[in-house]
């Protein structure tokens, strides 16, 4: 799981163009949106795209991502359970 978490952090940094941040700057259990990393609705669309491109996971709506994108850890757990590639 920790390996997948690190992989996701690197993909998030790349997808969201967080150029001056490192994986260590992202707390695995902190909220990705609002108070945590501070992402917004456009970022949510980028994260949906990240799941689809890299793991073959297609979410039906951003609302579905609400639980999945709570933190990098919840994201990794969902990817581990649902990935098709």
């Amino acid at each position: 799981m920790e390996e997948l978490i690190l992989e996701l952090k690197n993909r998030i940094l790349e997808a969201l163009k967080l150029e001056d941040m490192t994986p260590e700057d992202i707390d695995s259990d902190a909220p990705l949106f609002k108070d945590g990393l501070g992402l917004d609705s456009i970022d949510a669309l980028e994260l949906m795209l990240l799941l689809e491109k890299n793991y073959g996971i297609k979410l039906k709506s951003p609302a579905e991502g609400k639980e999945i994108f709570k933190s990098v850890r919840t994201m990794a757990e969902y990817v581990a359970a649902n990935r098709v590639k």
């Binding site: 163009k17 990393l37 501070g38 456009i42 689809e52």
Partner: protein
Amino acid sequence: MNRKVYIRASSQISVQEPLCEEWMEHPKQLSGPSVRCIDPDYKQFFSPMQARRMGLMFKRAMVTSRKVLETSGISCPDAIITGTALGCIGNTESFLDPMCREGESGLSPTAFMQSTHNTIGSMVAIALGCHGYNCTYSQDGVSFESALLDAVMQLESGEAGNSLVGAHDEITDNVARLREAIEPEGYPFSEGSVAMMLVSGGRPDDALCEVADVRILSRPESVEEAVAGYRADYVMRNDVTFSLFGRCGPASGLAVHAAANMIAAGRYSSVLVVNDSGSNAGLVFLKKV
């Protein structure tokens, strides 16, 4: 009666030293087929979270705009008017390249929403919280003059009391390659960002100069006739402009910036900036306050 219009503050990021005017004493000599901007360290201006959705062109536009707002003491302008020849061409390429490679599914929403010409003007407005008039002109070589003319008309008529006018364009490897192939001879192709605060009414002592006239001519062959109608201390033509800033969309905006600063420094009492390299021509006449 029309109100007088002044440039109160102006800032640039170009192939010359950015965010200052010291370069005017010893301008950099340009060489090569294309030249990129000298960028300041943007980490001083934006946090990683703020910078995450900013392309280079937007960072330049935001930094020049903020500097102008700071210098002029105006936090939220009545109008934001932008001129750009190619818009956010870097983001446009970022959006179109994956579409060509991978088809129409799975495209980045960020690249999509930032691929339009009016991205810069609207993002500046969002960042500043300005809900006033916002317009972007894309008229090739006279994009800046089109934006300036709109601002001047609004300020003269009293529609706006101040206006943030900008000219922004970037050059990508693709654009540079195409331009070099189409026009291999001449001054280097380049890029740049210039922002200026225009104000109307009164006679502000802190203004750089007065914008006495702006004209766009659709028949460049009539330019010399028009130029003869002005009594200017100095006529700044394309050869001087391009030797300083290279060939780029905002070149005439950068020329106006340089001219305004030369007038403020007392080198000339009036300057006519002539931009007649394209199918349309622009004339901007500046006078000392």
